[in-house]
Symmetry: D3
C-alpha cells in the first residue's frame, strides 16, 4: 500500500494498533493492499463500493470516513456520492439513505 | 426504465405484483428509474455497488440475481466480480465473502 | 401463554429444548408470554410487527414461520401480509421485499 | 400523500433533496404513497410496524423519528410504544430493546 | 441472578422497566439467568461472546456497556478485549473492528 | 497458521482462491493467523466467539461450518454449543437462536 492510501485509509486509532499490535496491523495492511489491488476495477470504483456498503449498514462513522477519504483522494463530487446513495436507497431502504444524505450535507457545509 | 433493464432487474415475482398491486409496482419502477438515472456514475458502476451491498448483507438470492444480471447486461467477468468481493471481504468479513465466492464459482460452472 | 399460541409459535426444535434444557425453555416461554401480553396493542398487531421485523432481516425461515402462523391463528389474508411487506420495502429495500413476496406467493399455492 | 403525512415523514434533509434531485424526490414520494396506501392494514398500524423494524435495526435516528412522528400524528402512548418494543426484544434481543427504551424515556421527559 | 450481576448488567433504563412493567422485567431477569447459567462454558467466556456479538453488530452503546461491565466484573484486560475484537475483524470486517477499538481506547484513558 | 487449522478453517472454495488469486489468499491467511494468535484468550474460546457472531448474524452456512470445525478440532460438545447459543438468544433474539439450534440438532443426528 502506498503512503497516501495508508494515511487516508487508516485513522488515528490504527496508529496505536501499529505500535501495540504490530502483527495485527501488518495483517490489516496486507489485507488492505490485496483488496485494493483489484485486477480490473479501479481503486476509485472500489472505494465507491465500500462507501455504498458502509452507508447500507447505517454505519455513521464509516460512512463519514469513506466520504471524507473519497473527497480528499479523488475530489469526488456531491453528485457522485448521491449516485452511490441512490443505490443504497433501493437496496437498503429509507433510513440508511436519509442518514447518509444528512452526513453528506453536513460535510458539504 | 427501458425494457431490457426491466426484464433483467425484475424477477417473476414482480410480474404478479404488477398485475395484483399495480400502484405498488409503478412506484417500484419509478424508484428504480430514479435510482439508476445517476447523474455522474454510470449504470454499470451502480450495479456493481448494488452487488457489493447485497453480498455484504449475506443475501444469497439477491447476490446471485445481481451477478446473473451483471453477466447478462454487461458481460461482466469473474475478475470484475472478485474485485467487488474483495471490498466485501474488507468491509464485512470472511463469511459474506466466502458465501459470495461460492455463488460466483457455481455460476461459472 | 395459552396452548394454542404455544403450539403455533414454537417449532419442533423447541420440543427438544423443553426436554433437554427445561430452565432455558421456561425462560423463553416466560419471555414470550410477557412480550405478547401487550397492554394496548393486540396480539395480532404484535404478530404483524414480528413479521415485518423478520422479513426486514431477510430471514427466510422466520418470515415463513410467521406467515404460516398468522394464517393459521388469524386467517390473515394475502393483502394484509402485502401491507406489512410494503413497510419492509420502504424501510429495508428491495431485496428483503422481493424475498418475502416470493415466500408469500409460495405459501399461497 | 397528503400534506400532513408529508411534513411529518420527511425531515429537513429531504427538503434539499426535493430542490436538488427532484426526480429522486418524486420517486420517494411515490414510493411512500404506495407503501402507506395499504389495502387492509391502517396507516397507524403500518407506522408501528415501521417503528418495530427501525428499532430492531438498532437505528437510533430512525427510531426516534418514528416515535416522534407517531406521537404527533396519532397521539400514540408510551404503553403502545412499549408493546412494539416487546416484540423487538423477542425478535432482536436485549441491545436494540434497551436502546429503544432509552430513546422512549428521553422523549417522555 | 445474584445482585452483583444484576447491577452490572442492567442500566438505569431497566430500573424504570422494573417499576412500570414488572412482568416484562421479571421475564428479562428470568431469561438473563437462564442464559448465563451455562452448563459448561463459564460466565466470563459467555460475556466475551456477548461482547464479540455486540461489537460485530456495530452497536456502540452495547459494546461500551459490555466492555465496562467486563472490566468491573472480571478485571478483564485490554489484551483480552483485543483478542475478542480480532475475531470481530475476521468475521465482520474493518468498520466494526475500528469502531470497537476506538471505544476501547477511550475507556482506557 | 498451522496446517490443521488451515484445512479446517478454509473450505473448498478457498482452494480455488489460492490458485487463482494467490495474493488475496495470502492476505487472508495472514489475517487469519494474526486473528487467532491472540495474546491472552485461547484459540478455542476465540472460535466460540466466532460461532456466536456467525449465529447472531443468522448465517446458516457460516454457523454450520463453525460448529463442524469446533467439533472436529476441539471435540466441542452439544452443551458447550448451547451455552454459546444462549448468549445469541439474549443478544440477538429468537430467530437466530432457533435457526442455530436447528442446525445443531441436524449435526447431532
Amino acid at each position: 500500500m502506498n503512503k497516501m492510501k495508508d494515511e487516508v485509509f487508516f485513522g488515528e486509532g490504527m496508529a496505536r494498533v501499529k505500535k501495540e499490535y504490530p502483527e495485527l496491523y501488518n495483517a490489516i495492511v496486507g489485507l488492505n493492499e490485496a483488496v485494493y489491488a483489484g485486477k480490473v476495477i479501479d481503486y476509485k470504483t472500489q472505494k465507491l463500493i465500500a462507501l455504498g456498503i458502509n452507508a447500507s449498514a447505517s454505519d455513521d462513522r464509516a460512512t463519514r470516513k469513506q466520504m471524507v477519504s473519497a473527497m480528499k483522494e479523488f475530489k469526488i463530487t456531491k453528485d457522485e456520492i448521491v449516485d452511490v446513495l441512490r443505490v443504497v436507497l433501493l437496496t437498503s431502504g429509507m433510513p440508511p439513505f436519509t442518514k447518509a444524505m444528512k452526513i453528506l450535507y453536513e460535510l458539504m457545509e
